[in-house]
Each structure stands twice: as structure tokens, then as C-alpha cells.
Assembly symmetry: C2
Homo-oligomer: 555 residues x 2
């Protein structure tokens, strides 16, 4: 035995301790005389790597599995290390005695609900492998769940969320770090005043950054509803996000909605954007890392950063967009949008903007007639309108076509009078459609300046006289097309049964299971709360827990 | 022979005609008595489909290849159709006589250059298969090229652009629709006043939409330089874009630069963003359909629409960002950025922002320590700083590490005093690095409100006293990191030899080969121009042209 620094380990096999307890044990050990460093963690491969990197694993192999607690001490001498490890149980006992002495604490959810029957929420932060069972029990008692625990399976998440949806309850999470419900923060959350902006997020620190930014700008929030990082996966389908959108759409205290999530599955994005289109108030969507369909589609803005999302929400508070004037309604069977563009980037921006809203495959098309395949041995469609006019007549004759989108790019080099070519044809095809009982709509994006040789005002007037809707920017054209598209496709049906507004109205009463610090935070914010003195079934012994669960079921 | 409507065709094998001539022939035929519709186009498959869709192909097979001219007429009777087709040659002759009678026109580039020796530009809009040869001839005469023609091979494009780069010349295109050089529009372009915004675009209508929007907002442009749609492909590597950025960086008449291109190859995007970082003036980048790295990286803003790009450029005119105060310089060998984050979305935003600027692989890392793999059996890093402090010490001891990025998320649930944990360690590792002759830099993103329990002001002061740079938004943190990163990596070297500023300074003198309407536009704008009465080698006969080319080479 040398007299130099020594590393020693102890193992508590299959023992469960609250993470806070472990952190405090580590600190207490590190503070003992002669101790240089200490590590206390479950012996997962990642944690072992960390201990090794800190020089806290001894040379010999330590027999411990991921469910075992590993306590490692580096001390000035073997003797000091041994003395430190000998105090582990005493230190753990002190902590537990302190915690138990505070007040009466229920040991089960059932008795917690008796103690605080007005609780609508349960905060669950027990270890991942136990979390689904606890959350399921809360749902069975008609409670909403804030599920902080991570390392919960996707299958369990889906089952919990379906169960919640069927009962008009919310499951925020798993791995939900942040929410503010009825003015009270759950998990990690920043203090701010109540306000008119409602947040929905599959990103805890994303929500916190937006709340903090809004606070710095003097604005407050109505609700901040967490989803967990996987809610917008294809497997889960955005169940909680859809519920939350519907809830905030109905919430009279919310004027603007912000939705944040890492890039969702495309079909989930499509559905949520459509739902956001239907909320009847300004909405801001931020999918970090995903390309933006457009800066704005009707009432829905698309942000490219947390800061941008917050700023867009502030703008939404002050400048709600007026609805467009409704044109003549389409006939039954008219259902496709057809774009015939001469500008490639204009076509691309229109396609990108509309594509997420196209719920029906196949029939909508946006063509760039300036693309190489159309221009071999032929003039560009900005000069020669022959191809476009032929396509326009063809699309207009199709009884399923509702809206035709065109562009007119003025300037040198282009056709001397595009409206003179397009106008009479637009007028004729609209009249023919009307004679056949249809309302064919034509919108034209006019790009140009008032110095261009074609006279932009005359071009606009000619097109408008022919019955076309004239737009001067892609954003305007998208606004119009989006509005008309919704007359065709409608909005998706919101979730049923709806989550009652009372679920998120303050003052909050909640039951906390897991991290005691979350309970402390609830009390510090003036919320009513009960903390469950939770232990894993059979003290963390998985085999025994399995037997107990089977016995319970068979009763 | 029936007395009803009839369709008849004529073919001119391997004949070359200007596209404008063909369009006019088509119109003239359609206007003849008894003619219902007419089509005049090269007999490519796409054009044949179009003729068929318009009922302009007769029942029997028409023998014509893609290099043959197909003239189709639908008339009230066989007789009317026949009469129309009989007039084709006469109509073509009228047009040619009219064109030839206007003035003396050179038949070759060489004689055009003699006629207008001050010409620095050649506009090329001959059919694609002849375009590379014409453009190459222009470059050989030290002229810049506006290459409107499409259907030019990628290999030819690369060869032309390399040749141009080596001579300090620009090749805009192929498939370049739009440019404004020294106040004169080339190809398709809008009339606007001169101004301080310089545009670069691999998108013709994209440039036109931005010019039109800026014009509507009262702003003008210095130059609009086209690239052609493929300049930012990996194969071409953004040769022209890099030249154009360097040119506008040196241009004293340009205060803000806008770069627009469909999503480039990632390595090309990386290089161009780095070049844009080095232009020394505000720049705006819009890559339609690509995810944005951040709303802004230092002087470079990222837009998400044509309209947004124009608006960002306007903001760049009025509010140039002041440079950050320079901290202590790094030592030789310090070259990596290491991020240790507790917030997943914060880590993601920082990674997305910096990743396009990381020119060296491997050494830069941005970690989310709140990710599932780090939190099994352990508290979240927003509560328990043990893991982060260990990693911080580890990174700080690495002599190759230059800058460590951290986040501190305040609020309920989080650590009661993060700065109290981080501050002393930051102070110590900075002092240790300094003792070892290094300047270790630490920047901390603080998220929170002034109502949070931790006292955000005290947290900030503690971190600043420890020597950390404190930022309050991701944008601020990125600004700082980007600036420091450039001290490490520098800017890429601009193109050599540079394109002389005189190349784009007005008044413009240019030679036009191809579409006569582009020549007309040049004259209408008051530019000096000469139109070449171009014919394909051997009158469009490819075989004969090949023989002639070989003979020319062997001389």
C-alpha cells in the first residue's frame, strides 16, 4: 500500500436514490478531509467513461451494472479514501432523515390525490424506466401530466399520449423540461408576467429563451405548453402539439401562438401548419434546422431563430393581418391549383410556400416554363407567350382546376405588352368557365418597376379588368393562394374531446413525483402542491417489481 | 380529301433561324386567312408533345429530328393549310430582308470588336450547342461574357469559367437571364435608379424581384451580377460568385451586397459565406429552400425570401453593425471552439450557426450535455454542474482549445447559483492557460429574466468578473464566436487576378450575338452596342461544322 494519492470505489447494487441525494452525497464526500475528488453516479457506460476521464476509476475492474450505484473517491491516501467510503451510508441516512422530517408526505399518487383533490396536474420526474407507469396512473385518475423523465420508450410515449387524447388530457413529455401553466412554472422555467402570447414547444430551453426574450421586451405569456422532444416524430404524430394548438386557439387570454420544435416529420409539419392556419389568430412557427416554406403563410409566420420567433410574436400582437376580400366561391369539383410561371425562383418560392399546405397529392402543380426542358429551340416565356397561353387554355378547360397562378416579369428584354397577351385570354377562359357553372380564379404576380418600358400601372389595370387578381410580391400571392386553398381543402378537424380550458387556468394545484426541487419551486411560486415520497416498486429490484406487477394485475 | 379542318406540316431540315424570327413566322401564319392555329418550333420531343396537345400534329408520322424546324398549320381546309405552308419561305425572306436593311452589321465577333473596340462585354444568346464556342472566342479577346444561352454542358461551363478566372474576366451564365452592369440592364432587367446595393444572383427572376422590391422602397442598385443557375454546383464551385463577391467588396459604389442562389453544394456554401464574411460591408445571403444557419452571422444576414433579402439589404444600408471589441489574441496552436451546453436547442442554434464557418474538420465540437445519453442516473446539467465543470477543466487544459462556449439557464428548477459554480472554475482555468502562455477565451450565454430567483444581474457580474464574455441571446453569442473564429481561421483568399472595377463601370459598351431584342434593349437604354449577324458554322449543319472546325485548327 503506497502513501500517495489513492482511488477507491464502492457499489450499491440495484439501489434507488433520488438524483439530488446523489449530488449531495458527492459534494459531502468531496468535502471530507483528505478527499481530492469524488464521483457518485449510476454505473452506465457514459458515466463510467466520465469517472475514468476524471481519474476516479481504480486500475482493477469494478463489477457494477447500469442499475448499480457507483461511488468513487480519490483521496490523499488509502486511509482517507477508506474513511470517506465508510461514511457513505451515514451520509445517505442523514439526508433521508432530514427530508422525511419536513411534513407528512404521501407515499402513493392515490393518497396524494386525496390530500389535494383540486390537483389537475402531476409532475413526474422519476427515473425513465418507472416513468410511464407513474404517468399512466395519473392519467387513469384524470390528471394532466408534466413528464420530465427522459429515457422513456417511444412506444410508451405513444400509448400515454393516445390515452390522454381520448380523455381530453395533456401529456407534456417525456423529456419535457419546461412549461408555464396558469402562471406557474413547471420543471425549469423563468419568472415573467402574464401576457397575451401563448407558447407551445418541443424544446425546453427553446421555450425558456423565448420567454426570456419576450420578458426583456416587456411582453408576457399566457401559457407555455411543453411537448417533449419527440412529439413531432412521425410515430407520435404531434398528438400533444395538436391538442395544445386547439387549446390555445380557444383560450381567450391568448392573442398570438408560437410553436417551436426541432424539424418535424413532413406529414406532421403539414398537419400542424394546417392546424395553425385554423387557429384564428396570428401564429409563429419555428422548426430549427428546417427550411422555411415562406416568411409567412396567411396568419402563420415562419421564424428562423428563437429570437426571431419572439420578435415575430411581438409583431403579431400589434398587427394582426386583415382577412382578404372573399372572391366568388368555387363550384363543387374545382380543387386544384395550377401555376404557370416564367420565373424559376418565383415558381420555387410559390411551390415551397404552398407545398406544406397541399393535403391532396397529385393534382396541384407549379410549373417553371422557363426551365431548360421547355426552352430548347424556343424563346423564353418572358418573351414568347405562346406556350403559356396554350397551357392556360388547357388548365382553364379542366373542370377540376380552381385557381391558376401566373407571373408577369416586366423590364427590358421581356415582352413589350404581357398584359395585352394574357388579358384577353384570361377574360375569355373565365367567361367560358362561368358559362359552364364554374368560378375559375386567376392570380397574377407582376414584377417590375414604374420605370420599366411596359408601364406597370397599365399592365396591372389591364389584368385586373380581365378579372385577374394582381399581386406585387410572392408574399401577397401566397397570402391569396393560401386563402383560396383553404376554401377548397378546409382546415383539419381539431382534437376531440378538447382539453378543457380549466386545465391550464390558474391558480395551479399539482402533485409532484420525483425531483424534490420541482416541488420546492412550485411552493416558491405560491402554487398548491403535494410531494409524493416515491420509491421504485420493490425498492428498485426489477425482478421483484415484475412479480409484484403481475400479482397486482391478477387480483 | 375532306372539306373540314385540316392539319399539315412542313420541315426545314437542319436550318437555323433566330427564335424571334420563328415566333414572328408563327404569328404571321396564324394570321393568314383560313388558318386556325400554327406552331413553329424545333422538333424536340417536348415541342412535339406541345404541338400534339394543341392538335397541331397530323395523324401520320412526321420525320423530323431535334435539329429540324417543324412548321405546323391547322386550317379550315386542306387548301388553306397548303396555301399557308407555301408562304413560309416568303415570310422568312421578308423578315430577313427587313432585319438586314437596318444598318451595317458585322458577321463575326472579330469584326464587331473592331467596330466597337471599347466593348468590354459580349452578350451571347445563340442556341446552346453553339454558345460555348462563341463565349470562348469572346474570352480569348479579353471580353467579359453575359451568357444567356441555356442547354450548355456543365463541362463547357467549367472550362469557360476557369479560363475567365485566370484572366480576371467574368462569365455570367450559361442560362443567365439578368444583369445590370454599370447602370445598363443585360438580358431581362428592370429599370431602376443607381444606388448603393450590389446584387449577385444565380437566379434571374430572383434578381428582378429584388430589384423591383428595392425600387418600390425607393432604393437603387450599384450592380446586379448574374451567375447562371449552376455556378454554385459542386462541379463549378461558385467561381463567378466568388469573383463577384470580391468585385463588389472592392467597389466603392456598393455599400451592401446581396447574394441569391438556389441551395448550393454545402462546401460551396461554406466558401461563399466565408468570402461574404470577408467583404467588409453588410451582406445578405438567400439560398431558397435551404435551412438558415442563423438570422445573422456577423456582417452576413440570412434571408428566407426574395422580399426578405431586399428588406434585409435596406436595413444593412442604414444600420451597419459596429465591430466587437477585440479581446486578447490567441496563441499559436489555439484553434478549436468547444461548446458545453445544457440547453439542447441553444446548442443546436449555435452549431447550425457556426458549422458553415468551420473550415477545418474534427476539432470543433458543440455538445448538448442535457441529451439523453448524458442524463441516465444523473441530474440535468442545469441543476448539477459536476459534468460540465469536469468537461470545462478538460477542454481548458487542451492547448489547442481557443474558445469555450457555455450556457446558463436561470429560473425555477435550475441551479440556485450557476455563476457561483462556474465563475471560480472559469477564473482558474483562464489563469492556468495564461500561465502556460495561452489566451483561453470563455463566452457564456445567459438566459433568464430579472424576476428569476437567481438575480440575473448578479449572475452576469460574477461571470464577467471571472473573465467570461456574457451574451444574452444566441445571436450575440454567434456574433462573438464568429469574430473569434475568424481570428483563428482567417478569411479565404479572394480570387486572383481580380476582376478590374472598370469591367462593371458605366457607360456600357457591348457586342450582342443572338437575340436581337437584347440588342434593341441595349440601344433603348442608351448603351453603345453592336449586333453580330450571327449564323451557326456551316449554316447549322453539324457534320460540315465539325469538318470546318478541324480545318481551322489544323491551319
Amino acid at each position: 500500500m503506497s502513501g500517495g494519492p489513492a482511488v477507491r470505489c464502492a457499489v450499491r447494487a440495484g439501489a434507488y436514490y433520488d438524483s439530488i441525494v446523489l449530488m449531495q452525497l458527492q459534494r459531502a464526500l468531496a468535502a471530507l478531509p483528505g478527499v481530492l475528488d469524488a464521483g457518485v453516479m449510476m454505473a452506465t457506460p457514459a458515466n463510467r467513461d466520465l469517472l475514468a476521464a476524471s481519474g476516479l476509476l481504480p486500475g482493477e475492474e469494478v463489477a457494477a451494472g447500469p442499475d448499480d450505484l457507483l461511488i468513487a473517491v480519490q483521496a490523499e491516501s488509502e486511509a482517507a479514501a477508506g474513511e470517506a467510503l465508510a461514511r457513505v451510508d451515514a451520509l445517505l441516512a442523514v439526508r433521508r432523515a432530514g427530508a422525511a422530517g419536513q411534513e407528512f408526505r404521501p407515499k402513493s399518487l392515490a393518497s396524494a390525490f386525496k390530500q389535494l383533490p383540486e390537483a389537475r396536474w402531476v409532475l413526474v420526474s422519476v427515473p425513465g424506466r418507472h416513468a410511464a407507469a407513474v404517468a399512466g396512473e395519473a392519467l387513469d385518475s384524470e390528471k394532466n401530466v408534466f413528464l420530465y423523465s427522459d429515457n422513456v420508450s417511444l412506444a410508451d410515449e405513444l400509448e400515454l399520449k393516445k390515452k390522454a387524447r381520448d380523455r381530453g388530457l395533456l401529456v407534456m413529455g417525456p423529456d419535457c423540461g419546461t412549461a408555464i401553466v396558469g402562471g406557474t412554472g413547471l420543471g425549469f422555467s423563468n419568472r415573467t408576467q402574464r401576457g397575451r402570447i401563448g407558447l407551445i414547444g418541443a424544446s425546453g430551453t427553446g421555450l425558456q429563451a423565448v420567454v426570456s426574450h419576450l420578458h426583456a421586451r416587456g411582453a408576457g405569456i399566457s401559457q407555455a405548453l411543453g411537448l417533449g422532444g419527440r412529439d413531432l416524430y412521425a410515430e407520435v404524430g404531434g398528438i400533444t402539439a395538436a391538442q395544445a394548438l386547439d387549446l390555445l386557439a380557444r383560450d381567450p387570454e391568448t392573442d398570438v401562438i408560437v410553436l417551436i420544435s426541432k424539424p418535424p416529420a413532413p406529414e406532421v409539419a403539414r398537419r400542424l401548419i394546417a392546424l395553425a392556419r385554423g387557429v384564428g389568430k396570428p401564429a409563429v412557427v419555428y422548426f430549427p434546422g428546417a427550411p422555411l416554406p415562406a416568411p409567412r403563410l396567411g396568419n402563420v409566420g415562419f421564424a428562423s431563430s428563437l429570437e426571431g420567433a419572439a420578435e415575430d410574436a411581438l409583431r403579431g400582437l400589434t398587427s394582426p393581418r386583415p382577412p382578404l376580400a372573399a372572391p366568388v366561391a368555387f363550384a363543387a369539383g374545382q380543387r386544384w391549383i395550377r401555376g404557370l410561371f416564367s420565373g424559376g425562383t418565383l415558381a420555387l418560392e410559390v411551390l415551397r410556400g404552398l407545398e406544406p399546405l397541399f393535403s391532396k397529392a397529385g393534382g396541384h402543380t407549379i410549373l417553371d416554363l422557363g426551365a431548360d426542358e421547355f426552352t430548347v429551340g424556343r424563346l423564353h416565356p418572358m418573351i414568347d407567350f405562346d406556350l403559356r397561353l396554350r397551357r392556360l387554355r388547357q388548365e382553364a378547360a379542366d373542370p377540376e382546376v380552381a385557381l391558376v397562378l401566373l407571373d408577369v416579369v416586366l423590364g427590358d428584354g421581356a415582352h413589350a405588352d404581357p398584359a395585352g397577351e394574357l388579358g384577353p385570354v384570361i377574360e375569355r377562359v373565365k367567361a367560358e368557365a362561368q358559362a359552364a357553372g364554374r368560378a375559375l380564379d386567376v392570380a397574377v404576380l407582376v414584377i417590375g418597376t414604374d420605370q420599366d418600358p411596359q408601364d406597370v400601372k397599365l399592365q396591372t389595370v389591364t389584368l385586373e379588368k380581365a378579372g385577374a387578381r394582381v399581386c406585387r410580391t410572392v408574399t401577397d400571392l401566397l397570402d391569396y393562394a393560401v386563402e383560396r386553398l383553404e376554401e377548397i381543402e378546409g382546415f383539419p378537424r381539431p382534437e376531440d374531446p378538447p382539453v378543457p380550458l380549466e386545465s391550464v387556468q390558474g391558480p395551479l394545484a399539482a402533485v409532484n413525483v420525483g425531483l424534490e426541487s420541482f416541488y420546492d419551486s412550485l411552493l416558491a411560486q405560491g402554487a398548491q402542491a403535494v410531494h409524493v415520497e416515491w420509491k421504485p416498486p420493490a425498492g428498485g429490484n426489477e425482478k421483484l417489481a415484475g412479480i409484484l406487477a403481475r400479482m397486482k394485475r391478477s387480483r
